[in-house]
């Protein structure tokens, strides 16, 4: 195996842990009946061992959601507003006029170093809930792993940093995968054409 192939393999070894290929399409009945225009992303619940995981993840979620066509409330400004005014998370969507709330639980977030390689994993559960009715619009359990070969100059960097880089790409797939992701939002040219 030549060096170039090894580097390519390392750089692109994105292994999907969820069996997306054989999964049934998501049932979008509730989603179609309560199509949200705006989404509030609440700070994720962190079950991983990385203490910075919640905010790291939180800062990678806006772009893929917005590029999917939704209005996404600015996470940093909302965070400050909640803290300054003591708004409980259960009330914030109603107060801000958010159509739906995205709840995320981070199950794993970081890098596991083994003898010959390092595996960076982002594994999570996400639920989108309609603010007015409380109905579940969408949910998904999702994991992405990136393997880098230590011998070929793989990632020796900070664990959260590596997961942070992977997290943005994970979210593009989480929301964007056909039949499993979110339907397009109103700012996307393909809104309502699915």
């Amino acid at each position: 195996m030549n060096a170039r192939a090894l580097v390519s393999a390392t750089a692109c070894a994105l292994a999907l842990l969820t069996p997306a290929g054989c999964a049934k399409p998501y049932d979008y009945t509730n989603f179609r009946e309560h199509r949200p225009r705006s989404i509030l992303v609440l700070p994720p619940v962190n079950e991983s061992r990385e203490s910075d995981a919640a905010w790291s993840y939180q800062s990678t979620v806006t772009r893929p959601l917005a590029e999917r066509g939704y209005y996404v409330f600015p996470v940093a400004v909302v965070d400050r507003l909640m803290k300054d005014n003591g708004v409980p998370p259960g009330k914030v969507a109603e107060i801000l006029g958010a159509d739906a709330v995205l709840y995320v639980t981070l199950e794993e977030y970081g890098t596991k170093h083994q003898v010959l390689n390092a595996a960076t994993i982002v594994k999570l559960r996400a639920r989108l809930v309609d603010t007015r009715s409380g109905l579940l619009l969408w949910e998904r359990r999702f994991a992405v792993q990136h393997n880098s070969n230590v011998g070929s100059g793989g990632n020796f960097g900070d664990s959260t940093e590596a997961a942070h880089d992977l997290s943005g790409r994970a979210n593009v797939r989480l929301f964007g995968d056909t039949d499993q992701g979110l339907l397009y939002g109103p700012y996307h040219p393909r809104y309502g054409k699915e």
Partner: protein
Amino acid sequence: MGSLRGTAIAGPWLCVLLLGCSTPTLYSWGHYEERIYASYLAPGAVSPEKQVEELEQDYQKARAENKRMPPGFHAYLGSIYLELGKIDQARDELEAEKAEFPESAAFVDRLLASLRKP
């Protein structure tokens, strides 16, 4: 070795599949995401003045390219102007957020109301 070779061959093609068909983005993102991340990880590492400069440059660049700023950008920039005590600029940015994205109206009105308080 077989599976390893398989990965080596599939790797570049997987890259093509994942990156090859990139569609144009809806928004011009500039430094917005970086700023959000840094505001928590290293607050104070970049001064509010510097952040304003950077974000205003992003905005000018996007305007020149006829691209929109993403949801939340103007509200975030407004919050930094507020930090600097520049109330008029803060208000202008919040109004811009509402004009660009009417979904933000209740949120922005709440922030505007807090500006009016002494």
